[in-house]
Amino acid sequence: MEKLLILWESTAIPHFEIKQIIMMLVGFALLYLAIVRKFEPLLLLPIGFGALLTNIPLAGFSEAGGLLHYIYYIGVDTGVFPLLIFMGVGAMTDFSALIANPRMLLLGAAAQFGIFATLFGAILLNGLSFFDFSLQDASAIAIIGGADGPTAIFLASKLAPELLGAIAVAAYSYMALVPIIQPPIMKALTTAEERKLPMAQLRVVSKKEKILFPLAVLLMTLIFLPSATPLVGMFCFGNLLKECGVVDRLSNTAQNELINIVTIFLGLAVGSKLSADAFLTAETLGILALGAVAFSIGTAAGVMMAKLMNKLSKDNINPLIGAAGVSAVPMAARVVNKVGLESNPHNFLLMHAMGPNVAGVLGSAVAAGILLALVGP
């Protein structure tokens, strides 16, 4: 009988807490979103599975000595994984649309308004009695509006590690929801005439310009905003690997094998932060709400900026492309293209939207650098 009791004690059943079961259901929900609904499956699947593993009683995946504990410690706590992902993203990014039409950088800048406005909003939420966000927490939450997963994880790991799980899940969920969140905002802020505007064809960009571009970005960042160099530097490094044309092997590794390996570990590590104590709080709801707000304001600011530029410039600028300023490459650009085609079936905006889209990546990295410099530890 005693032996039976010991055996019973060693199963998970008597050790389950209701909170852990809820968190495992959250993990299953993420798996469902990834597998059935195909929402950012590359990240939500490892995150969901990590959430399952970390909430298994007795296994201790996320305690000292557990696998996920070390993966988190090595890769996320140090900020290494998001930076490696950023290098891979750099190696996959083609800047020619932006180099051909550099004014698009202004759209990438305008869309960052979502970040800073949300920062303000998070502090306002403190007025409600059950929230208590510090300025660091608010900054880490607001960066969700940058619509850039690695940037959000990087900043959260530096400013508010205890909120990282919720922030990462919110960031990737909203990126997956871009096709649902953005179109209503884009349509509300533009007229049918504006949506039909065709844009002039982009010029051809030479190889030399493409090689000089990442070097110029790096040079400017290290002079004016050194706190953004981890993100921007790795991004530029990856891009130079791709554009220089002499290290195709390294470039291929950065944009395939390496980024895939790191994605697996990053997802698991983020999932390990979805423990009941950290996730089942009022703050998580606040983070999800603020993330959506940040995203919407960013989209709106981008569109409004594009309308302004269209008024001021000689060339047509279709205001829709402003919405692509919230990075989320390449989903946001595809959404712009789709909404544009609905108004004018002959107007392909994809290439034009790629400009603000990659500008948004730079913009949110710069915004992260500013937040690190101003509220960082």
Binding site: R103, L119, L124, V366
Partner: protein, 85 residues
Amino acid sequence: MAEQLMEAGVLLAVGMSVVFAFLTLLIAGIHLIAWFERAFPSPIETPSTRPRQEPKQKNDITEVSPQIAAAISAAVSTHRKSTSK
């Protein structure tokens, strides 16, 4: 609370200004690069198209370059002639 709001407001103003200033400078930088490109229209342009195509051919093992194909067919035909005699 009010103090925090002030701080957040300052962050909003400073942050947006710096983002805009930085990216505007970058616009100037890109124009500078483009000007540089126009001022010294690189002779790179012709070779730049070549090395891009070459690695593709190297990767494709099944494709044989025309010179090698010609050499093989010449060798085969001489071999056939020599054996048919």
